[in-house]
């Protein structure tokens, strides 16, 4: 390189900050946890014996197989459900879109362990729905097993696919579609050949999130898998099992989880690298003209999917208004659960709101520039950062939590016992989501817009803040709200990191559900649902007015 060549300072700066942050608050803690897996029992000599042991044990191999199977099936199912849903909302005359959109993000709100409890109430062996089905001649329906897990995960995570796909459908340049049709292609063919490829990056990004979430989540299989081996459950038990804790083997499973996710991520990158589709849509595409029949079908489908996904919500809300005697639910209406909840400290609710707000804002401030650098500067360092920024999604919250405690309980930086460590854990865990969301939006923004700005004399840094960020605003806000919502329902790292004053609403729910007060748990869940609906509805109204693509 010739001396004095202009170097892009902005991406380098972002990369340095990102590497420093992830290195300190993710890699270092994870190393502290995982190094047990490559050391012998004395903790001194390097060995791969633990890996050999796990891979030679049928029980663990079955766990890996089941987890991958469930992950893949769920990913396919969410795409199969989410993409048509996004299309209906983006392009079809579906009634009540703002409400539908606000509701469609709700499945992310309900902590998965509460959702699992609701599904057992509904579709357990003695569940309300199972029994109703049995009386109409369909006996033996139950939520346990692979089918049930895929169903619950699909209904819980489809917003991850649906929301980015929606934004992409809205950003499709209609002229490309029209060009496709002018060339004699049928509508369906145009959709397949022209629209779908443009939407693919967003769908893949969402599908990746689904896959990772499914792989990492242990709250749902903990209950619904019964005794089927599941990787995340095995890892959890090996880390903090009351009787069988084995940090070395736990580390191996943790590394395997990270490995599976990394492979999925690289496959997605490989696919995207060979296809680049930026469009410069000037206007949101119009709603398609549809026959009455099609209109009904689209509306019915969209509302049907969203309402079914909300079934556990209705169940939890209904349960919260039932009378509980100790752990036993009685079918009488009552406000006792709420009176009980409100008679306690309101601090957990305030904590949830504050911590989620701080972490979501932090994730946006850090995630958007990283997403930008990853999309626009495809250097070797960017590829490493890309993978690195996705790893948190593959790391079980418990594992990251333990790592943070080990790393920051003493020494030069002490964080345990305060609120900041919770915010950092959330920030690290949700960063991939913001990075992905930002990258997906940026795939929709033609880089020549930024080049035009730079060409007109505005530095890259100021171009990013003055032009790119406003262009991304809708997506950034949408993504941040979703981050907020998922943080508000986070449990697995919270339970390891929280200290008394920083109890969150999910911890309250967990304790109550874990023990003998499902009534209080469902009342707390109802409060959480209400608290999260408000910002969601607000944001969707706001975005609608400004007609910015969501997420």
């Amino acid at each position: 390189m010739t001396s004095g060549r202009a170097r892009p300072l902005f991406p380098i700066g972002v990369a340095v900050v990102a590497f420093a942050f992830l290195g300190l608050f993710m890699l270092y803690p994870l190393w502290n946890v995982f190094r047990a897996s490559i050391l012998d029992s004395a903790g001194e000599t390097f060995t791969l014996a633990n890996y050999a042991k796990v891979l030679s044990t049928a029980f663990y191999r079955a766990g890996i197989f089941n987890s991958l199977l469930i992950g893949i099936l769920t990913t396919l199912a969410t795409i199969a459900i989410g993409v048509p849903l996004a299309f209906c909302v983006a392009r079809m005359p579906v009634p009540g879109k703002p409400l539908l959109l606000a509701l469609a993000a709700l499945p992310l709100v309900l902590p998965s362990f509460v959702g699992a409890y609701a599904w057992v109430l509904l579709l357990g062996r003695q569940g309300i729905l199972s029994q109703a089905l049995a009386t109409v001649g369909v006996p033996g329906v139950s939520i346990y097993g692979i089918g049930g897990l895929v169903l619950v995960f699909t209904l819980h995570t489809f917003p991850y696919v649906m929301l980015p796909a929606l934004a992409a459908f809205k950003a499709v340049d209609v002229s490309i579609e029209e060009a496709g049709q002018n060339l004699g292609a049928s509508r369906l063919r145009t959709f397949q050949r022209v629209t779908l490829p443009v939407v693919m990056p967003a769908v893949l990004a969402g599908g990746l999130l689904v896959f990772m979430e499914t792989l990492e989540n242990f709250g749902v299989p903990f209950v619904l898998a019964e005794d089927m081996p599941i990787l995340a459950v095995q890892a959890y038990k090996l880390f903090v099992g009351e009787a069988g804790a084995n940090p070395a083997l736990a580390g191996v499973l943790g590394v395997l989880l990270v490995g599976c996710t990394t492979v999925a991520l690289l496959l997605q990158r490989f696919y995207l690298a060979r296809r680049r589709f930026a469009t410069a849509a000037r206007t949101a595409p119009p709603t398609l003209a549809a026959s009455r029949w099609l209109r009904w079908a689209a509306g019915g489908y969209a509302w049907g999917v969203v309402l079914v996904s909300l079934v556990p919500f209705f169940a939890i809300v209904a349960v919260s208004f039932m009378r509980f005697k100790g752990p036993v639910m009685h079918l009488e209406p009552s406000l006792d659960n709420f009176l009980n909840l409100f008679s306690r400290s309101q601090r957990p609710l305030a904590n949830t709101i504050m911590l989620a707000t701080a972490a979501a804002a932090g994730a946006a401030i850090l995630g958007v520039p990283i997403g930008y650098v990853l999309t626009r500067f495809r250097s070797g360092a960017a590829h490493i950062l890309d993978v690195l920024a996705m790893v948190p999604f593959a790391v079980a919250g418990t594992v990251l939590g333990i790592g943070l405690v080990i790393s920051f309980n003493s020494g030069w930086l002490v964080l345990t016992g305060g609120w900041l460590i919770l915010v950092l854990a959330y920030l690290v865990r949700k960063l991939p989501f913001n990075v992905r969301a930002s990258a997906a939006i940026l795939h929709q923004i033609d880089p020549s817009l930024e080049e035009a700005s730079i060409n007109l004399g505005v530095s890259p840094l100021r171009t990013f803040f003055g032009l790119t960020v406003p262009l991304m605003a809708g997506g950034i806000i949408g993504g941040t709200v979703l981050t907020w919502v998922t943080i508000a329902s986070e449990l697995s790292s919270t339970v390891v990191l929280y200290s008394g004053p920083w109890t969150t609403l999910t911890v309250v729910m967990f304790q109550a559900l874990e023990g003998t007060s499902a009534g209080a748990a469902s009342a707390a869940a109802t409060v959480l649902i209400l608290v999260t609906i408000v910002p969601l509805a607000f944001v969707y109204r706001l975005l609608k007015r400004h007609d910015v693509a969501l997420v």
């Binding site: 390189m1 010739t2 004095g4 060549r5 202009a6 410069a280 000037r282 206007t283 033609d446 020549s448 817009l449 080049e451 035009a452 700005s453 730079i454 060409n455 007109l456 004399g457 505005v458 530095s459 890259p460 100021r462 171009t463 032009l467 406003p470 262009l471």
Partner: protein, 357 residues
């Protein structure tokens, strides 16, 4: 007015060579076109001038100022993008004001300059409109106004007309040429459309495989292509090849596809293989027995296809062992039908000979 000097610049993406050592001197105030098929390196070269592509080696100067080491936002080179790159979140006025704001132009002056720039591209009064309310041609003009309002040292146009329909393309290129003449701004224009290049350029550089194949005025490169590639790329031509079988006073006789053609050629030995280009419009129809101008050559051929285009007619003739020869004539020659035989005549001086590939 700023001259642009491109001095032995090169750029490779991994094993793919995009620009392989190009040197050009672009005269102040001229409209200079980089012409070539996609992948020839013309856009990369333009982006190097704008600062969006790195140089592996070489230098670029605006006047005496070396700019390849200057970050792109300090080069003061105005660029118009293929897709216009109009900021969708700003009005037309906001788009045009964008560069002025970066230069901290005071409010009143800014207003006046925006109005002037919009007038210049015939969009006066459009300042409050939003981009999605404009047509493609209007967007193109906004892009030009946004670019020109900051008074750039040079103007860089990257396939600016490729997204417009045919008629608008013709109008816009005339407009761009007129604007450029009026402002006398040094301009680099990138296109793959040879007609566009010939129509508006002061000089054209034809590029292929990262190298400049030929540099010259439009007329010069059209009439005297330096290579078979340039001949074929610039307009329609008949590209023939074969061995030299005889030498005459008019030139050399080449046997191509079973037919003897006379070409002008100095110093080509008998037996050598050559290629030559014979433009369709250089071939004329002639009644049999009609006297030929001195030195002209003739051949008999059968009409294979007639394409009437109004002002001109394109005719494909088949000759000898079935090879096709394209001919363009003004108007529609009477009594010519497919299958009929005709006598074709041409001046060997109008042929261009290249060494055989």
């Amino acid at each position: 007015m700023t001259a642009i000097r491109i001095d032995d610049v090169a750029r490779a993406y991994g094993p793919v060579v995009a620009v392989a050592g190009v040197s050009l001197d672009i005269v102040a105030g001229e409209l200079f076109t980089l012409l070539g098929p996609s992948g020839c390196g013309k856009t990369t070269l333009l982006r190097m001038v704008a600062g969006f592509s790195k140089l592996d080696r070489g230098r670029i100067l605006f006047g005496d100022r070396r700019i390849d080491t200057v970050p792109p936002h300090r080069r003061n080179a105005g660029m118009v993008f293929q897709n216009y790159a109009i900021f969708p979140n700003m009005t037309v006025g906001g788009n045009v004001a964008y560069g002025l704001k970066a230069r901290h132009v005071p409010g009143a002056e800014m207003k006046a300059r925006i109005a002037r720039a919009l007038e210049l591209v015939r969009l006066g009064g459009f300042g409050e409109r939003w981009p999605h309310q404009l047509s493609g041609g209007q967007l193109q003009r906004v892009a030009l106004a946004r670019c020109l309002v900051v008074e750039p040292d040079v103007l860089l146009l990257d396939e600016p007309l490729s997204n417009l329909d045919a008629q608008l393309r013709v109008e816009m290129r005339a407009e761009i040429r007129a604007l450029q003449q009026k402002l006398r701004i040094t301009t680099i224009y990138v296109t793959h459309d040879q007609e566009e290049a010939l129509a508006i350029s002061d000089r054209v550089a034809v590029m292929r495989g990262g190298r400049v194949q030929q540099l010259g005025t439009p007329a010069n490169i059209y009439r005297r292509p330096a290579s078979a590639f340039v001949a074929a790329f610039l307009g329609t031509t008949n590209l023939l090849s074969g061995p030299v079988v005889a030498r005459t006073s008019a030139g050399a006789v080449v046997l191509a596809d079973g037919q003897r053609f006379t070409v002008t050629a100095d110093g080509i030995a008998e037996g050598a293989r050559v290629s030559f280009s014979l433009r369709p419009e250089a071939i004329h129809l002639s009644a049999s027995g009609e006297a030929l101008p001195p030195g002209w050559a003739a051949l008999e051929a059968r009409v294979a296809r007639i394409e009437f285009l109004g002002a001109i007619t394109r005719i494909e003739f088949s000759y000898a062992d079935g090879a096709l020869l394209r001919v363009a004539v003004l108007g529609l020659p009477p009594g010519l039908a497919e299958g009929a035989t005709a006598r074709l005549v041409y001046d060997p001086a109008q042929t261009t000979v290249f060494p055989a590939p």
